[in-house]
């Protein structure tokens, strides 16, 4: 059981070193999920290549173990990055005296910002196009939204316009 634990543990250490180094670069900030997946695969392959052990002796345990660890880390990372609650608590923590009124919080973290930052992201990733302040779907956006509508129908969820 030592080899799979060593392989998965070493791959995690290598991943965090790469993660920390690559995230210093400005371009890496907006490619988080894909880049985390790429770095995970690279880290694991690097460790397997360097390890002085027959890959078949541990891969069927170390690979699922490392994959699960990375999936849990991804959930944590996405939570920190996207969570409105975490952002809100950070703003209160940074406020003088650790206290913030609702209007001060709304000024720091406005509803407009929440929507605008997401619209900008969708435009940046070619899901939407903006024309004179009006947004419409690009083919990529139509495909994804169509898939989401189909999924919601399968689950029997409400589809509100």
């Amino acid at each position: 059981m030592a080899e799979p634990l060593l392989a998965a543990g070493s791959a995690l250490v290598v991943f965090f070193i790469l993660h920390f180094a690559v995230w210093r670069l400005e371009w890496a900030r907006d490619r988080s999920v894909v880049l985390i997946a790429v770095l995970s695969v690279l880290s694991y392959l690097l460790v397997v290549a360097v390890m002085d052990a027959d890959i078949s002796s541990h891969i069927w345990v170390s690979c699922p173990l490392f994959s699960l660890s990375m999936m849990l880390y991804l959930q944590f990372y996405m939570g920190i990055d996207r969570s409105v609650s975490i952002r809100m608590m950070g703003e209160v923590l940074r406020a003088p005296g650790g206290e913030l009124s609702l209007s001060e919080l709304e000024a720091l973290y406005s509803q407009e910002y929440m929507v605008k930052s997401r619209l900008d992201l969708l435009v940046d990733r070619n899901y939407l196009v903006e024309d004179n302040g009006v947004y419409s779907c690009m083919p990529k956006g139509r495909y994804l939204a169509g898939a989401a509508v189909l999924t919601r129908r399968i689950y029997g969820l409400r589809i509100a316009e």
Binding site: M1, D81, G141, R142
Partner: protein
């Protein structure tokens, strides 16, 4: 030894449709747009089926304790990976705020910024999102709100600090 591990991983992979199917049935039966509880319930069925299939196909009496542990680790980690991956993917469709905005644009063909402000996430409009999060964090005893100002409980301070430290360490944007 590896044969049992390969079987454990492959069985977990080919039984994985049990998870979305179980989730669909439970969501339709309960008519509640939730992810965690029905997914975990479906995961229990998934794990039970996996264990029954794997341990039925091997002579468990001939397996050493280490071999059994390796088989369990291989199979359960694969199931965990697929289950968390599924929950992450489906959460965007169920309650993703960005997906909500995209859907609103798609269903209305064209949408202005002000109309996009009406996009829903978990049944909550953008202009109600902050109040909704205050209610949730108060329920979790992370935040105190006296009707005028917000303060943090020790748990809230720890969560807020963790968020700020991780964001600073990884050079992340303010997020949220």
């Amino acid at each position: 030894m590896a044969d049992g591990e390969i079987g454990a991983v492959l069985t977990a992979v080919y039984l994985c449709p049990v998870l979305p199917l179980g989730h669909i049935v439970l969501v339709r039966l309960t008519r509640r747009e939730t992810i965690v509880v029905p997914s975990l319930a479906a995961s229990c069925i998934y794990v039970a089926l996996w264990a029954a299939t794997v341990f039925h196909s091997v002579d468990s009496g001939s397996l050493s304790a280490v071999a059994t542990m390796r088989m369990l680790a291989a199979g359960l980690c694969t199931i965990g990976f697929l289950a968390f991956g599924y929950m992450e993917a489906v959460s965007h469709v169920f309650r993703g705020f960005t997906m909500g905005i995209l859907l609103r644009v798609y269903l209305n063909q064209r949408l202005s910024f002000q109309e996009a402000m009406g996009a829903h996430s978990e049944g909550v409009r953008a202009d109600e999102l902050l109040e909704d999060r205050i209610r949730i964090t108060m329920r979790l005893n992370l935040v105190q709100f006296d009707g005028e100002s917000l303060t943090l409980t020790p748990g809230g301070r720890a969560a807020g600090k963790m968020g700020l430290i991780v964001k600073r360490m990884l050079n992340m944007r303010t997020g949220g």
